[in-house]
């Protein structure tokens, strides 16, 4: 080796060694993502009927915490001889449905059951809950995905929602006046758009990015982030490390996830009363419609497909989608449950599955007879050979009906009613659903029309 190169080699190696040493030093700093310690106990009567006793219960075990909570709420409390809970406020443990103690470890979001004796110190966990549950069911959601409790939040006057679904959820629980920032796709209720245009609500993000600085400028009391979006997760981490209150919610494509998110948003923003009222309306509507269409086991399932376009090779809704949940509830048999989520299928598949009804969610077309007929004429032969086409049961959801259908949010109940009407026209004959639905989709609702307001 050329001797003149030695100093250069030594300098190069030194730079690399120093850089590695510095990296090791900075990597040792841990990232704090765990919420505060638990400061209370939850009594969960099932169906999102929870009671939080916000008392500083340090060094109190779970059984003592339950006694204190029942006393404060004037609930009766009875224990069995083996130490298990027999009854709380008239709600008795029976064979399949029992009172059990559950916990969430710090930094986790997963409920785990605890067995007697119940001498667990409650401040060792992110959440502790006495829940009345069927075997195999988890208690109601109590923390966000990073284990931050949803019960210990202060008063919220200014909220930022980074997803259009969360915006709709907050408005559904009467929290619209708390919203000071949204993503650019939040467009429902209409009053949100008016406020965005007037500057009362700031737009703080788009499809691929979130503007951290714009959020901070709003000085929000809480920010709701969608865990399925990587840029939201990064923003959440930055907000938490900067001392802001933020919640990371799982915006999965199923009805349970939707109702969980509504519950969390309502609880955090102080709208829990309105949330309970909303859920009561949901239950009433579902019960009414279920009675009309009859129980699923006695009914013939109708083969149905949900697509995102009228293309020869469309994207279709698979098993883990909330429209699949809705089709199950309305006696529909989604023909693409062999597909996991939304997926693009081979053109032959549509013909092979031969659905009797196809619902297309696409805002490519206008909500007019002319556009609908143009869409039908443009369909490929694979589409035209399905029973759905032959029987004239291809439905087009366009304009704002597209958002209602694709956005996993509080309006799922309205999609549920329309889908029930499409699948069961004989028993729900009071309103006939058009083959194309757009901004007028509320005209095809009766039981759920007033559950979610349209806004001015």
């Amino acid at each position: 080796m050329d001797e003149s190169l030695k100093p250069k080699i030594i300098a190069t190696v030194t730079i690399i060694v120093v850089a590695i040493a510095l990296l090791i030093v900075v990597s040792i700093n841990p990232v704090n993502t765990v919420g505060d310690h638990n400061k209370g106990v939850i009594i969960d009567f099932n169906e999102y009927d929870t009671v939080w006793t916000p008392e500083e219960l340090s060094n109190v075990n779970a059984e003592e915490a339950l006694r204190i909570a029942c006393e404060k709420n004037s609930y009766s409390l009875t224990f069995n001889n083996d130490g298990s809970v027999a009854e709380i406020n008239g709600c008795y443990s029976i064979d399949d449905c029992k009172w059990e103690l559950w916990k969430i470890d710090k930094g986790s979001a997963e409920w785990k059951i605890l067995s007697a004796p119940y001498d667990y110190k409650i401040d060792n966990y992110a959440a502790v809950c006495w829940a009345y549950r069927n075997i195999g069911e988890d208690p109601t959601i109590a923390v966000d995905l990073r284990g931050v409790s949803i019960y210990e939040h202060g008063i919220v006057n200014k909220a930022v929602t980074l997803s259009a679904a969360f915006t709709e959820d907050l408005c559904a629980v009467n929290g619209e006046n708390k919203i000071v920032g949204t993503d650019m796709f939040s467009n429902y209720p209409r009053s949100i758009v008016s406020k965005q245009n007037s500057g009362d609500i700031s737009i703080v993000g788009d499809f691929t990015t979130v503007n951290f600085e714009s959020i901070v400028k709003l000085n929000p009391d809480v920010v709701f982030c969608d865990a399925t979006r990587s840029n939201h997760v990064q923003t959440y981490d930055k907000l938490i490390s900067a001392g802001y209150s933020a919640y990371l919610l799982d915006c999965n494509d199923d009805i349970n996830s939707i109702t969980d998110n509504i519950f969390v948003i309502g609880q955090v923003t102080g709208c829990s009363k309105e949330t309970k009222e909303l859920f009561a309306k949901y239950n009433e509507a579902v019960n009414t419609i279920s009675k009309i269409i009859g129980p699923a086991e006695n009914s013939k399932q109708t083969k149905i497909a949900f697509t995102l376009s009228a293309d020869k090779m469309p994207w279709v809704a698979g098993k883990n989608t909330y429209v699949n949940n809705i089709s199950l509830l309305t006696h529909g048999d989604n023909v693409f449950t062999d597909v996991k989520s939304w997926a693009q299928i081979n053109p032959e598949e549509l013909l092979a599955k031969n659905p009797s009804i196809i619902i297309i969610f696409s805002d490519t077309y206008k909500n007019t007879d002319e556009d609908y007929n143009n869409m039908l004429n443009s369909l490929s032969l694979e589409w035209k050979n399905t029973d759905a086409y032959k029987s004239g049961r291809i439905y087009l959801f366009t304009e704002s009906a597209t958002d209602m259908s694709q956005r996993p949010c509080s309006r799922f109940i309205q999609l549920y009613e329309i889908t029930a009407r499409i699948i069961n026209p004989d028993v729900m004959s009071d309103i006939t659903v058009n083959r194309h639905i757009g901004d007028d989709y509320r005209n095809f609702l009766s039981y759920t029309k007033n559950i979610i307001e349209e806004g001015e």
Partner: protein, 358 residues
């Protein structure tokens, strides 16, 4: 003294003078753009004193209990501006190294397939929760970045393997890099088609942005990017020998093959580090070295330092525009870099293209 020696001395003095100008003006620009980025943002403009006070106060508080302005300056503007500066330097230096070693004017930091490898690995994490067979914890804040970095390095070693087996010439490296890049891009396309609702996450990463750089990430970007960018400065003279051709460089005592291999590995690591946290940002690594050569000639003792200041300035300008063009919305910084850089490069090409051969 012979007239050719006099000419050489005059030439060297002129180049040194040019370097002083470029570095001096460049540093002024770097500082000015840094201050601009720190003071001006979509939510408001702060005075220089106000901004520095807020930054120093936030640092003294250790990032806790900050006021709004302190959060904006300390947690938002500072990390992204420093990251833009470091990535601009890194990509420009990597581009200069590739162009020198491969002696092809179309070379950029991604010529070895690093961007395709990193992009494919990042999309695999995003779409399929790929954790390199459990080697990296799925809840790690660095998961995507680390996997992207590993993906980029793997792609480079695939390129190197093929190129070395084919003889190890510059042309072999370019061709091997192109096919490996295509192969990884094809896999990336397939993965995106399976991403379903996670497509937006994949696009977010591929578009490139400094918006989400945090203090924790900042050190992991800046330390290796700056360190690896310093190394070619030490070896600038050897890079000049390479320009004379392999035979001439060998006659002058340089082990050309080994030197090229080591520098290609360093340039690829540098590129992988740059893209891992902020996504794929093109153009800078291609154009900045050319711009510097057009102004200063081919001497790498001048090109490397000049690339540092020009690359840093261009990237910080791009990041500034990315967040300011539509207030509240972040535009893809890779696209902005190109939009800013094309007119500058076109102007230089028109003015100096006749006397410039890459």
């Amino acid at each position: 003294m012979a007239s050719s020696e006099k000419k050489q001395i005059t030439h060297n003095m002129r180049n040194r003078r040019r370097l002083r100008y470029v570095i001096g003006i460049g540093l002024i620009f770097v500082v000015a753009v840094f201050i601009l980025n720190m003071c001006v943002g979509p939510t408001g403009t702060y005075g220089i004193g106000e901004m520095f006070n807020a930054l120093i106060s936030a640092i003294q508080k250790g990032g806790n209990d900050l006021t709004d302005i302190e959060v904006i300056v300390y947690s938002s503007r500072f990390p992204r501006t420093i990251a833009a500066l470091a990535v601009g330097i890194g990509l420009s230096i990597a581009g200069s190294m590739y162009q020198a070693i491969i002696r092809n004017p179309l070379c950029d930091p991604y010529i070895m397939g690093v961007s395709s490898g990193a992009g494919t690995a990042a999309v695999a994490v995003i779409a399929l929760n790929f954790t390199f067979f459990g080697l990296i914890p799925s809840n790690s804040v660095f998961l995507t970045a680390i996997v992207a970095m590993i993906g980029g390095v793997i792609a480079f070693f695939c390129t190197m393997f093929i190129a070395e087996k084919a003889g190890g010439s510059s042309t072999n490296y370019v061709l091997a890099g192109v096919i490996i890049g295509l192969a990884f891009s094809a896999v990336q396309t397939i993965l995106i088609s399976f991403a379903g609702s996670k497509v937006s996450n994949a696009l977010s990463w591929l578009f490139g942005s400094f918006a989400n750089v945090s203090w924790t990430q900042l050190a992991v970007i800046v330390i290796p990017a700056i360190a690896l960018s310093l190394i070619p400065l030490i070896w600038a003279k050897e890079f000049n020998l390479i320009l004379l051709g392999e035979d001439n460089a060998r006659q002058m005592g340089l082990e050309v093959r080994n030197f090229n291999r080591v520098m290609l590995i360093l340039a690829s690591l540098l590129t992988a580090v740059c893209v891992a946290f902020v996504g794929i940002i093109g153009f800078v690594g291609l154009v900045v070295p050319h711009l510097c050569r057009m102004i200063l000639g081919g001497d790498h003792r001048l090109v490397f330092p000049a690339s540092i200041v020009v690359g840093a300035t261009l990237m910080m300008c791009a990041d500034f525009l990315a967040r300011m063009i539509i207030p509240g919305i972040e535009l893809p910084v890779g696209a902005i870099t190109t939009i800013v850089g094309v007119p500058v490069f076109a102007y230089m090409l028109i003015r100096r293209g006749r006397s410039y051969d890459g």
